[in-house]
């Protein structure tokens, strides 16, 4: 009847060489549910016990790969898609800069997963009712002895046979281990819970103190009091007391070409239209014209304002004078304004201004087409229809 709650039979030995031969013999005797305990790692256990290679490596591999992929994708999404920022003139997806973080996250996730996987899956933690707890056997093997335990759950386990086998190995000591009636160490125990609470309070209190108080005390706060120019603050270095400075006179932004005739109502020199009339260009011009010009000049440039007299109507764009304007002159009017018309320089960039000029040319041509133009259009239409 004592077999009912027998956990296993243990034996103690006193040298690593002995325990390796013991492990080998036990494995050869056909036992599979047995274990070796040693106060320090001894090389050769795995082979002697005939163990299969550990599966732990797969956990490390899977979590390591997850770490690298997640880190890379996260940085790719934040830095290149969600909130792209130019840092140090590097591309948005700056792979070399991402590698160290990818590496760190890989190592972090892999190592954490290995340790947690080992504790949870292989040590079956939290296991605080293990029968070996608090036995003479476990105390000895944590000190200077080497132990063997054959578990009763082994399929070849027969009490007398195992006992004889163990005695034939010449152990120093044999001990039978039984399952404990009641849990020896419980998690819900006032002492343990009090300790847990105390540790939690001390840890969070210290963290709060260091991060929110200590860093703002005198020797540590020196970091934030540096001799530097803070934006939006006054500065004693300059005579006018301004911290932020204007760029040097004549500074030109990159990729920006200043228009030299600006503010000159009678331009002395007009620009040449640098853009070819293409379908794309006309489309851009149309969209900009309809947005910015058509409220006053009308959808077809007739000067029929949609503003119902709230603003003086401009003249038609189909007048002889307007038709004879050079491209550069229309550009000049867009940039500079004319009479009641304000400058549109801040609404339209260089390309868009020329596109609007081209579109006005299209409107003028459409309104004042000659016979030959009409015949050409007819021919084109027929060609398209027959296709």
């Amino acid at each position: 009847m004592h077999n009912k709650n027998l956990y296993g039979i243990t034996a103690l030995f006193d040298s690593p060489d002995k325990i390796i031969s013991v492990a080998k013999k036990t494995a050869e005797a056909g036992y599979t549910r047995f274990d070796i305990n040693s106060p320090y790692p001894v090389h050769g256990f795995d082979k002697a016990m005939n163990l299969k290679p550990s599966k732990l490596g797969f956990i490390t591999l899977v979590f390591g790969l997850t770490g690298s992929i997640v880190a890379l994708l996260f940085m790719f999404w934040t830095m290149s898609i969600d909130y792209p920022m130019i840092i140090g003139g590097k591309p948005f997806f700056a792979l070399p800069a991402f590698i160290p973080i990818t590496f760190e996250v890989t190592v972090l996730l892999a190592s954490l997963a290995t340790v947690i996987g080992m504790i949870v899956f292989f040590f079956k933690f939290p296991e605080n009712r293990h029968p070996l707890h608090n036995t003479n056997y476990i105390k000895q093997v944590s000190k200077d002895k080497f132990g063997l335990v054959i578990e009763a759950s082994d399929k070849n386990f027969e009490y007398q046979k195992v006992k004889d086998f163990i005695i034939s190995l010449n152990p120093i000591e044999v001990e039978e281990i039984y399952y404990q009636e009641k849990e020896l160490l419980s998690i819900i125990e006032p002492k343990f819970l009090t300790l847990l609470l105390a540790v939690a309070l001390v840890t969070s209190g210290t963290t709060y103190f260091v991060l929110n108080e200590l860093l703002y005390m005198v020797p540590f706060s020196w970091m934030s009091e540096q001799l530097r120019l803070n934006p939006q603050n006054s500065c004693e270095l300059f005579a006018d007391g301004f911290g932020m400075r204007m760029p040097v006179k004549g500074t030109v932004a990159r990729g920006f070409m200043p228009y030299l005739q600006k503010g000159n109502s009678n331009p002395t020199e007009l620009l040449e239209n640098p853009y070819l009339i293409t379908e794309e260009n006309i489309k851009l011009g149309k969209s900009k014209y309809l947005t910015f010009c058509s409220p006053c000049h009308g959808n077809y440039g007739d000067g029929d304002s949609r503003l119902r007299g709230q603003f003086p109507n401009p003249p038609t764009l189909h007048s002889k004078r307007a038709q004879e304007f050079k491209d550069g002159m229309i550009y000049h009017i867009i940039v500079n304004g004319q009479n009641s018309m304000p400058s549109y320089a801040s609404y339209l960039n260089n390309e868009e201004r020329w596109a609007v000029v081209n579109f006005i040319r299209v409107l003028q041509k459409a309104k004042n087409a000659s016979d030959s133009d009409l015949q050409f259009v007819k021919k084109e239409n027929n060609k398209n229809a027959s296709n």
Partner: protein, 396 residues
């Protein structure tokens, strides 16, 4: 478990090894001479690749011996003879260095007085980079290495007969002196032979970079020879796959170390983006060098990393043999990538030439001959070493 029946009988290495060595050497030498006549500049640059490769094998092997003594490693004791034979290349360097010193004008443009005169930076570096001091350094370093090699080897060999444990103690002290000496000399060797090819460029991690490749090359050579000898029955039955596992693990570790160092060097230069540093990498991104640069990452890191990652493959003899040859080639490619883009003709991109394949042939011949010469009538296992028994009984 203990091997009590250990009785070593000295077995001669196959004569074919010597024959192959001589054939490779003669063919390589003849082709190399032709190469010198056809294209002197390309030949001398290729010869520098070979010379650096031989330093890597010889000096790296000597480092492995010293490391074993200093770290008190047991598992590697049965194999110590292989790096001892391989570091026999070191005395040969006295002869091998002569062509490089004769043709230094073709290699280093800081040797040209008229160029240095017009160049502020080179003028500033002249106290270090001048031909007299250069020759003194080169010869002195080889001299230091050879002395360490001779003493370590003599002690180790005489222990076979005297079984004197004090010789191990002596070698530990010598190794402890050698390791810092090695660190300094290999750094300056890397600076002198490799970095000064582009005298305007500088990188403080460069010595470590060369060191990482050197150790990979040395371990790979030793592993290759051991797996080969084990297959031919020279080590059976004492050497198990557990021993081989340590070689696989070391190779894996140093492959990672190389990648770490190489990336550290690249990233800092890429990030700081200083023109005086970036041009070195830009040269290696020019034309077809770009392909070789990318290939280097794959050959030197991605492939060996993937092959060596799992535990069983670290102890599989066939896979170790493959990856050792692969890594020796990878180090050769690494040196090629470091040295060849400095040639004026190849600045704009690599173009194919048969000369590039001549010198490795000569190198294989030299290593085989040296290995044969130094292993003649010597035990393949240091039978007198007090740690030998523990080393033979090594288990995972």
């Amino acid at each position: 478990m203990h091997q009590t029946d250990f009785l070593y009988k000295n077995k001669e290495l196959p004569i074919s090894l010597k024959n192959y060595g001589i054939i490779f050497f003669i063919v390589g030498l003849a082709l190399a001479l032709v190469a010198f006549i056809v294209d002197k500049e390309r030949a001398i640059f290729n010869y520098l690749v070979l010379y650096s490769m031989l330093i890597s094998i010889g000096l790296g092997s000597l480092f492995l011996i010293a490391l074993e003594y200093v770290a008190g490693a047991d598992w590697s004791v049965p194999f110590r003879r292989i790096p001892e034979f391989l570091s026999g290349i070191l005395p040969l360097l006295f002869i091998l260095v002569i062509p490089l010193l004769i043709f230094n004008h073709d290699l280093f443009h800081w040797t040209h007085k008229e160029i240095v005169e017009q160049d502020e930076i080179l003028k500033g570096k002249e106290p270090y980079l001048n031909i007299t001091f250069f020759i003194i350094r080169v010869i002195a370093f080889i001299f230091i290495w050879v002395i360490f090699f001779l003493v370590l080897r003599k002690n180790s060999l005489s222990q076979d007969y005297s079984k004197d444990q004090n010789l191990t103690r002596k070698n530990i002290i010598i190794s402890a002196i050698f390791i810092p000496t090695f660190a300094i000399t290999i750094t300056f060797t890397a600076i002198d032979w490799l970095m000064s090819l582009e005298p305007h460029w500088f990188s403080t991690i460069f010595g470590v970079y060369y060191f990482s490749g050197t150790v990979i090359c040395a371990i790979a050579s030793v592993t290759l020879i051991i797996v080969y000898l084990k297959e031919k029955g020279y080590y059976n039955p004492w050497i198990t796959n557990d021993h081989l596992y340590s070689f696989g693990a070391l190779l894996f570790a140093f492959v990672n170390f190389w990648a770490y160092i190489a990336f550290s060097q690249f990233m800092l230069i890429w990030y700081a983006n200083l023109p005086e540093e970036t041009f070195w990498f830009l040269t290696r991104w020019e034309g077809s060098w770009k392909v070789i640069s990318i290939l280097l990452i794959i050959v030197h890191f991605v492939v060996p990393y993937s092959v060596l990652l799992s535990q069983p493959s670290k102890m599989n003899p066939n896979r170790l043999k493959f990856i050792s040859i692969w890594l020796i080639f990878a180090h050769l490619l690494d040196l090629f990538w470091l040295i060849m883009p400095n040639m004026n003709e190849l600045k704009k991109g690599y173009n194919f030439s048969w000369i590039d394949f001549v010198f490795p042939v000569l190198g294989i011949g030299l290593v085989l001959i040296v290995f044969n010469f130094f292993s003649k009538n010597k035990n393949l296992i240091p039978v007198g070493d007090p740690k030998l028994n523990k080393g033979l009984n090594f288990h995972l």
